[in-house]
């Protein structure tokens, strides 16, 4: 990805969170707690589990459908970050060659089963994290974290980072364009120039922080960033959380996929 693409990518995910759907209107705290429970449940499945993980796809599917999030965009972002999990996981089929099952005459090794399980967990956890931001907005998540007991200093740190991310990225974009204008081929992209660029960017950042501080001071900044948004857990939020917990419990402890498969087998016979 080039710099410009990365920049517009973040902006797009941010714009998605301006939506006005049921999912967007839920209290951020409910969504943060729900997402964390979802992740823990998915990760708690043992190494060779695939079938029982399938029902969990319902959660990202519902978020995408109700929240009106473009599926392609999310899938593209998932593929971009997949290499590490695939790189580590691909050793499983090579190293673990015991036969796990024979399905219609094709024997499947245990390694492939555990590799598929890793991929499945990867898809579930990454999509849940991306969809949390896409339906909640970054500042929503931050204020939720604040109210869930994360230190105020850290939360204002996150809010500042986010606020100035776009400003600094535009600054960086200008620096990079200037570098590209002056460099032909690989020239000018070496370590020495890079260290200078980062040094300049750092100095500009410090100066900007100074101006930001004075601007905030003149507007009454006292070391905290309050929010004016409503934040009361109302009926839909509690309903969302309880449905979430109930379904996670059912999908974790009852063999839903297996049961449906067996019923279907019974009907077919």
């Amino acid at each position: 990805m080039t710099f410009d693409e990365k920049y517009f990518d973040i902006g797009r995910l941010d714009r998605l969170s301006y939506g006005e759907t049921f999912m967007h209107r839920l209290d951020p705290r409910a969504k943060v707690i729900g997402t964390m429970l979802f992740l823990l449940t998915v990760i708690s499945f043992p190494k060779y589990e695939i079938a029982a993980l399938v029902p969990f796809l319902l959660y990202p599917a519902l978020l995408v459908a109700v929240g009106e999030i473009p599926v392609r965009f999310i899938v593209k972002k998932m593929i971009v970050v997949s290499p590490f999990a695939i790189f580590i996981g691909i050793f499983n089929p090579i190293l673990d060659t015991r036969t796990a099952a024979v399905i219609y005459g094709v024997s499947v090794s245990a390694g492939w089963v555990s590799f598929l399980s890793i991929l499945m967990k990867f898809a579930l956890t990454i999509s849940a994290a991306l969809l949390l931001i896409a339906t909640t907005s970054f500042s929503g998540v931050c204020h939720a974290l604040r109210r869930l007991g994360v230190p105020a200093l850290f939360v204002s740190q996150l809010l500042f980072l986010y606020r100035y991310l776009f400003v600094l990225m535009e600054e960086t974009m200008r620096i990079i364009r200037a570098r590209e204008m002056r460099s032909f081929g690989k020239r000018g992209t070496g370590l020495r120039v890079f260290a200078r660029l980062i040094g300049i960017l750092f100095l500009r950042t410090v100066d900007r922080a100074e101006r930001v501080y004075y601007a905030m001071l003149s507007r009454g900044f006292q070391g905290d960033m309050p929010s004016l948004k409503r934040s009361r857990m109302v009926l839909p939020d509690l309903a969302f959380l309880s449905v979430m917990i109930a379904s996670l419990w059912v999908f974790r402890f009852f063999p839903v996929t297996d049961g449906i498969g067996r019923i279907a087998q019974g009907l077919l016979r």
Binding site: I43, A51, A101, S107, V113, V141, L153
Partner: protein
């Protein structure tokens, strides 16, 4: 080298989350006492700086491939350990949320690997003694390279340990270490040069900025070795406790295969992490405790299943066929639900 959710077990994930949360609390408390309001926007904007700087590529000498900055050590040197740690933690949090780099459960691991090591181990105990107040570029270069290399080696080794303790990967320890450490040695050397370049540039261009940052920053000197050792000892005990619990519920290979041969183990796939704890809840709540009904027994692959069973009894063919059919049906239903909602929404909005 971001750790990924999919490779983690809940015990490892939550243990490192707890460790990271403890360090964050410590850093916040330390900072609150020692900084003025001015530092809050500075830290925030510097977080954005690291983020933007990581997106700039440079050519790695000799290879032609491109790399980018990690930034933990640079920040620790410029800001001091506490502020640097919080900035790194916030950068990694935003990356986890917006790029899904790693994931939310692995965030604890990632902050630990990329934040705690450079800020609280390497900076006070390696970088500061090596530089020792000197302003010579050569000395700073040497100290930076040594520090970044060490921090990245620690981080890479932690990725190996976290992956292995989670037990989702089959990679043997030796091969994994041999794969991770040399790559990160190379990355560390390059990043060490970049770090030194940035520090030296800032020092020569605007020395007063480093001085003014130094006033508000807590120095390595007040991070006493004793305290750090105590903290790490406590964390080690917690980690050890959690891991031994994990280990005791994870029968070793020999035990496991004996169990297989004697056929004692009932549900051998339940050996990981909090799964046994969950299993007891399951046994108390499940109305179908042993759900392997004999419905699929007259299935074609059954004789083969009997052969396969001793070598690998986790899944038998009956279960797996039902699993595949069930998975296909569930997947179809989920897609139908999703597309159905979309369809009706579009009609409504029209």
């Amino acid at each position: 080298m971001h750790m990924a959710d999919a490779l983690l077990s809940p015990v490892v994930g939550t243990t490192l989350w707890a460790g990271t949360a403890a360090v964050s609390g410590y850093a916040s408390r330390k900072l609150k006492r020692e900084i003025d309001d001015r530092t809050i926007p500075l830290m925030g904007v510097l977080g954005a700086f690291i983020f933007a700087a990581q997106m700039v590529n440079f050519t790695i000498p000799g290879t032609g491939s491109s790399g980018h900055l990690g930034g933990g050590m640079t920040l620790a040197i410029l800001l001091g350990p506490h502020a640097a740690f919080l900035v790194m933690a916030s950068v990694l949090t935003v990356q986890a949320l917006f790029f899904a780099d790693g994931g939310l459960l692995a965030l604890g691991c990632n902050i630990w690997n990329l934040g705690v090591y450079p800020c609280y181990l390497v900076y006070p105990f390696i970088y500061r003694p090596l530089v020792g107040g000197s302003k010579k570029p050569g000395r700073i270069l040497f100290a930076s390279v040594a520090s970044v290399v060490l921090a990245l080696q620690l981080g890479a080794f932690s990725v190996v340990m976290e992956t292995l303790l989670s037990g989702k990967s089959e990679l043997p320890f030796g091969a994994f270490v041999l794969m991770m450490q040399p790559i990160h040695l190379a990355i560390g050397i390059v990043e060490g040069f970049v770090t030194a370049g940035v520090i030296n540039y800032v020092r020569s261009a605007r020395p007063e900025i480093l001085e003014s940052l130094a006033v508000s920053r807590p120095m390595g000197a007040d991070v006493s070795l004793k305290k750090v050792m105590m903290t790490f000892a406590v964390l080690a005990v917690i980690t050890g406790g959690a891991l031994s619990w994990f280990a005791s519920t994870h029968p070793d290979g020999l035990e496991w295969s004996i169990e297989k041969i004697t056929g004692k183990a009932e549900l051998p796939e339940q050996e990981h992490g909090i799964a046994p704890a969950l299993k007891t809840i399951q046994e108390k709540t499940a109305f179908l405790p042993d759900y392997n009904f004999r419905m699929g027994t007259d299935f074609k692959s059954v004789p083969k299943k009997e052969e396969a069973a001793p070598s690998w009894p986790g899944i038998d063919a009956g279960t797996s066929t039902a699993g595949i059919i069930g998975a296909a049906i569930v997947l179809g239903m989920i897609m139908l639900i999703g597309m159905g909602i979309r369809f009706f929404r579009r009609r409504e909005s029209r």
